[in-house]
Symmetry: C3
């Protein structure tokens, strides 16, 4: 009877999974933006909508946290996890916004490579947070986290390659500065995926 | 009798509140620096003094932490909170120092806008850490944290606008690099205010 | 009998100490790279090997964490500590890699100064994590952490000085951008040493 007054414990996992799904969609929009030849405005606008969508989920999650007496995993961890998850799409939006504002067309090929890494990494984040729901399949969650770490290393190497290509192709420092801002955001987005993987691994360590 | 040997528990809240007040003063100095037409050295020097003042408070707080057996909130959280709080003024000092070193006059108008955001955000941090003292007024603390989050979003948007304005006004890449360093520091200062808000929200979740 | 099934608790301290020793070696290679006049490739390659070596230690440590029922210190803290420790050599490798890729010779004098700071800071990290093993010599550990904080401040000041020197010597913005990337990595490496010191201080607070 009393328990009926409490939100269902699983709702936090619903927030994580929904948020992760929406982030994957954002990464896919970035991939489309990088692959298509038309104007980037529509895709950049869609990414901003997705970013807002995830802001709403994040706020609902934190709100639920304030109203819930017993949480399935440590409160701090829930808070940290949803916050780090939310950083990923913020940075993808930052990159898209900068390409739009600075009118950076044509889109450089490394954006597509970053988008491919991010589609994979966000899908693995989705898998990892899904695994938290029942704390089963520990090996599969760990494998996803290790793979996210590997993708983050790829992101690092890609960033260095992307910037080196800029230096080799142009002496226009302003052009370099603008594109570097885009690549910094995209590389940071892969870093935040790794942070999420590390948090999930940490939560798993507490419960497994 | 035994309790008399322990530092008063509330001292940690004294450290938080004192530190927060001094940081507000630092943000106000930045606003004065950005608004006045005279040389910026005196204001930049005052900000550095304020930064040192807060270093002392931070070290006293951490020291007290080592000497206290029972803390009113989790030890890790006290340590993290005072450290993140201390980052704000470090970054404000970084921005002022760069404007001084690079002789960046006239001060660009976005510095005033950042300073206005930072005065508001640091006042809200002051309010939030004050609220921790008795864990009352949970709604008011949460409202302060949400408002800090909103200001951080404003800081993000302002950063993009400030940099776009640079690109539109000049082809002098060195000038762009110098001013970008200042804006990066100021935007990071609003980020650290948000980190503090998130920490306060997390502490509240543990105790409310 | 049952305890024989558990990994020895002290193994985590073995991981920390081994990792810290290897990182000191990396900092020394950077110092050699900055001091010698020959080509930097061999030293940069050796730093990358060291970085891989530490990746292996980090993975072994996290793996052991998954297989251990009772840990001598909080699981989260072990995970966070080895992760932050691993960031230091990643950033040293990043700096060396960029100098190599961008063919940045001659090496600017501030690289040597950064390397000297990093040799000291990583030796202090080694000392601090060694102290964790028996939680004795609290004063000595704290002194090491305070000294690391001081070195991080030196790193900050050195970064500003290094960049100011670039602005004073050249109008070649691309040259400035390349060297700034190197200095950003080196300054971030000192920041990560400070993060490690803060974590050690936090662990000490829990156990002392």
């Amino acid at each position: 009877m009393f328990r009926a007054l409490l939100p269902r414990e699983t709702s936090f996992f619903d927030f994580f999974e929904h948020h992760a799904q929406v982030t994957v969609e954002g990464a896919r929009e970035l991939l489309a933006l990088a692959t298509e030849t038309g104007p980037i405005e529509p895709r950049a606008r869609r990414i901003k909508e997705i970013e807002h969508e995830n802001d709403v989920i994040t706020h609902q999650c934190v709100d639920a946290l304030h109203r819930t007496f017993i949480t399935p995993i440590d409160r701090h961890d829930i808070h940290r996890l949803i916050s780090r998850m939310d950083d990923v799409i913020d940075l993808v939006d930052g990159a898209a916004d900068r390409m739009r504002l600075y009118e950076l067309t044509p889109i450089r090929p490394e954006v597509k490579e970053f988008a491919e890494i991010l589609v994979q990494a966000t899908q693995l984040v989705e898998k990892a947070v899904h695994g938290l729901r029942n704390m089963k399949g520990e090996a599969a969650i760990k494998a996803a986290c290790i793979e996210i770490n590997r993708l983050e290393n790829d992101g690092d190497a890609l960033f260095r390659r992307a910037v080196l290509a800029l230096f080799r192709e142009t002496n226009d420092a302003i052009f370099v500065i603008k594109w570097k801002e885009v690549f910094v955001d995209l590389e940071a987005a892969t870093d935040r995926c790794e942070d999420v993987a590390n948090l999930v691994e940490g939560i798993l360590l507490e419960h497994a």
